[in-house]
Amino acid sequence: MSENQNQPVQTVNAAQLGDLTRSELKQLETKEKTAMEKTLETVTLALPVVCGIVALLEYLLLPNYARNYDPFTYVYVLCAFIAAYIIYLAVGVIRRKAGNFATYEKVHYRAPLFAALFLFLAVYDYLTLKTGTLTQPFVPCMNFILNAFLKDYMMLIDCTINTLKLLFIGYTIGVSLGLVTGITCGYSKKARYWVDPVIKFLGPIPTSTWVPVTMVVAGSLFGGAVFIIALGSWFAVTVASMTGIGNVDKDFFEAAETLGASKRQMVFRVAIPHAMPSILQGCTQAMSSSCVALMIAEMLGVKSGLGWYMTWQSGWASYDKMFAALFVICFIFTIVTKCLERIKRHVLRWQNGGEK
């Protein structure tokens, strides 16, 4: 009897099970939450807002240790963050009412992280602006960093564009060449004979070692930076696609052969698709090595871009601007990695087709 009471949806009978969607099924199979769990869920969802308000009050009410300029930038940003979370939550709740639980569950899953972010901001502000435990201006408070953004955003955008240009030119060249060499070497023993020693010789050398050499040898700094970035990604992609193609099961080639595939088709229609997981893994690796090479190049020689901006500003003791650039860098790299991840998931959708 008590089991019956725990069934949340009693209107469904066995004959109707055929029309269930995935989330409805999940809903049907989960037991109804106890009062305790329900309260906990509400608290979790409210936590980011509470922590956001704590951060706001901490900033507004506690006396400042150091002088503060344009104090409301931080307040606006905090409020915007809190508002964004509330909208996100509202969308989740509204969709849940309409029978779509996905967004709501995501909000619920992420809420503790958002709360932690607000708490982190509060603690950071307390340690910098309010008590000076982290010495000003070397570790500037969030308000300063935000103001630096506002003051210098034209320059930051300019630097961002330069950085992205360098990154993508280098990365594209490196990845394309890497694909060509990797696939050729994976398939042809002769090509591997010539390329293998080069890879074995160049492989263990870290990218940063090349910076001083190329800065001297290359005609332009830009060209030198492109070369360094391309070299790193070329290496990663070559090795990954070579192993990927080398690992293709012989059975697939035999099957393709008996089905009438030509030599060319065996490369492009069997070997490459089969090696795709490995190739994409190489591309992701190439991106992270490109990012490292890019920053090194910009900090050591290239006279533009975010890396250069950071060194330049720290030279002027403008640590707030330096931090602003650092945030932009983090943001860009996060987005780029996320994009690569998306592409990978789409191309390799056959891999997680589900097990039976």
């Binding site: 099961d249 052969e257 008996t258 056959w350």
Partner: protein, 257 residues
Amino acid sequence: MDKKVVLKLENVSKSFAKVESDEVTHALQDVNVTMESGEFVSLVGPSGCGKSTILRLVAGLITPTLGKVSVDGVEVEKPSPNRGVVFQKPTLFPWLTVEKNIAFSLDMQGKLKGNEDKVEHMIKMIGLENFKDDYPAQLSGGMAQRVSLVRTLINEPEILLLDEPLGALDAFTRMHMQDEILNIWSEKKQLALMVTHDVDEAIYMGTRVLVMDANPGRIIADIKIDESFPRDRSSASFVEYRNDILNKLHFAGKKNK
């Protein structure tokens, strides 16, 4: 079948060198056999008797050390969609959907345009209409092997080579698919050559059973199964065939010890 083909193996020997040593194994020694369209030939024997080697020679995946494999007098040199192979592993391309796997062969030969209905017909034949957009990872073993079978059949091969196609399936799926394969074969009566290690299966499906033995690999008996389809696994004549073949294999095994 509109065209009759004759498959001939004349004095065929095949030896393999071992990878690690200079030793050479003789997988086949002096095999002579002729088969033609309308036959369903089962190759049965213990492992190492070279039955798969015969199949791979006919497919053109390997070439004989000595002798000649020919179809209608033309020597077999390389694989062709005309001699379709169904392997023990389904070897479906995991990055292609069921539909695209079946269409693979036509696509490779540039014949897909205008033949989409053929693909559809094949999907219907194995009853996987609901799975045509799924990837092989989502299929059960039996389903995957069915797809693999029609992926080969779509070329309407004159010779159908089956390399233990049902070896990895459970007993029920296996019996079910034996009938399915026989049904498909009886439509066109192409020459079918099936390797199996299951004597019952060899008798149940074959119009002719070639019994093989190892060391060196050779054919020790060529038995015609004179019974109409569908066959009764428990009939007296079936049991007699089985005993006959088992006897041959058993004695052969003892003699070698």
